[in-house]
Symmetry: C2
Subunit: 374 residues, 2 copies
Amino acid sequence: MVDVTTTSSDLYPVTRVADAREATAAAGIDALLLTPGPDLRYLTGYDALPLERLTCLVVPAEGEAFMVVPRLELPAAEHSPASRLGLEFVPWDETDDPYSLVARRIGPAATVGLADRMWAMQSLRFRAVMPGIEQVLAGSVLREMRMRKSPAEVAALREAGAAIDVVHALVPGLLKAGRTEREVGKDIAEAILAAGHATVDFVIVGSGPNGASPHHELSDRVIQAGEPVVVDIGGQMPSGYCSDSTRTYSVGEPPADFAAYYEVLRQAQDAACAAVRPGVSCESVDAAARQIIEDAGYGDRFIHRTGHGIGLETHEEPYIVSGNTEPLAPGFAFSVEPGIYLAGRHGARIEDILVCTETGGERLNNQPRDLVVV
Amino acid sequence: MVDVTTTSSDLYPVTRVADAREATAAAGIDALLLTPGPDLRYLTGYDALPLERLTCLVVPAEGEAFMVVPRLELPAAEHSPASRLGLEFVPWDETDDPYSLVARRIGPAATVGLADRMWAMQSLRFRAVMPGIEQVLAGSVLREMRMRKSPAEVAALREAGAAIDVVHALVPGLLKAGRTEREVGKDIAEAILAAGHATVDFVIVGSGPNGASPHHELSDRVIQAGEPVVVDIGGQMPSGYCSDSTRTYSVGEPPADFAAYYEVLRQAQDAACAAVRPGVSCESVDAAARQIIEDAGYGDRFIHRTGHGIGLETHEEPYIVSGNTEPLAPGFAFSVEPGIYLAGRHGARIEDILVCTETGGERLNNQPRDLVVV
């Protein structure tokens, strides 16, 4: 289990705030305003609670970064990895207005960059105290940094991948005809924690027709003999890095048409993984999977993009989707997860996380991809 | 365990969208734009995944509400409690621009209300496609509805309170000198799920000096004999409603000064709970606790407000804080959680969720509040 307190310096190097400041200046933005979430954690290592009380890292294009924190969060901030950065912490009291405090300290500005996940209750307050200042996304500055995972980040994702593989190895023992999706899901959630995750982010157990809804989660539906079951699960490790892996199982022998398209899917997923290497566009990885599925006559049953980036967020850039011409580069990490869905009957999806290396793609999930009949 | 599928109609009545529309019109707002989160769930019962792909319930002041959904979420939306409402679902495909779609359907407007937790990546896109349209918070319309819990909501909160009480009953068996906070926290997280929660929202185990940081979470610190330990835990039930309760334990006999201020704290918490009744202001409940702590000479050690509202969010309105003159009304639900913190040494906090009744306050947490020495 990665312990943030001992690995902070590798995973969250102290140079990132300076790198972000330089990128902010280059983008012509006066300051980044980063509330708790992945952008703040990426720059500081601080996994601040997302609360209605304002915590905000301010990274000015010129001058020193500082962090506004509610006074009762001050000890937590001081004991967090952010304390390594030599940042000034600016505490505020329960009856202060921290938004005005930030505005005063920033002074005259034309453009600020907001954390991509900043809540409207915060962005509208900032707008009110900074009239006329344009708001853009901090992601426009940080996406380049965050997409290119460092070796320590890749190691953290590899560890997350191994942890969710442990859970998938247990799933055949949990899937039984007569159990409900919810019962199986509860066992899986406990296994996700037992495997070392800090949080359970999602547990999808889609049996029979529910497997044809890609983001179905859990229901009280009883799993029947002869049914395929899509199991898509993930969580966040103590390091902050996320896991996400899908396998499709069959409880007893599946229908013949299912077995046929499952094999198509397996080949499509392999082909997309094989297409990964530096310089290849995101959309061409999508196309590699899609072509095989279309050629087999299931094109209109593959109703979503092939994948999404992963790191401190389960879904982040780059997206593996038609229209995204971004070329892959070493360190990019993302899912490859084509699916085939027969509405009202059943569906299948196979998902691995891959990282782009200097020469190809490394799979971070390694449970068998052949259909497991339990 | 509340099952949303069978209790939707009580917990999430189908009339709420119409009520919200009326309140929206009365507030002079043209439409509410509600992305996944508590506002959307409150109006529809739909616990949509918060994703970068836009799902958005649009509630126009005039005309029919509709929900924009990514095509791959359509089956999930159609199987969610939102399907009871007779809403039009407007699916969009992976390469469409759903923001423009919403803007076109809304047409000319002066003001839109955004879900309080809408991400900046969404609110800025809406701003771009609706130039000149003022953005305000949907909370300005929905807060009155959400603060006043219905009997079914109170029942769901009561159930959440009972579930976290079950976990606190187990904590004395988990706290042992020689264990780390993280080890204890992992056991607590599993117990939170086993007690019927759908998610673990936070696990604070603050031993010795860590107990003096109110939002300290978990560390690898080894709990020592003779140390007080603050345990503040909560999760979200399948119903959507949240639990949140704090007890302070002592592993062996605590220091004498701790025992003295713990008793002050217990009295302060009791006094604040006793102050709860309709018409009393939020700030006077805060004052009831604060006065006792100040009189005992610990005023500057009580460094946070007395409480926060709770419902579909762990922290929501009303806040029990100096300056909040909002009068309590039947159905208001909130925490009463004074604390005393001696920086560098130890701290204590006692927290119950209360609901304001016609005549007073009902505690939804009922584990013993006397110091438990384990």
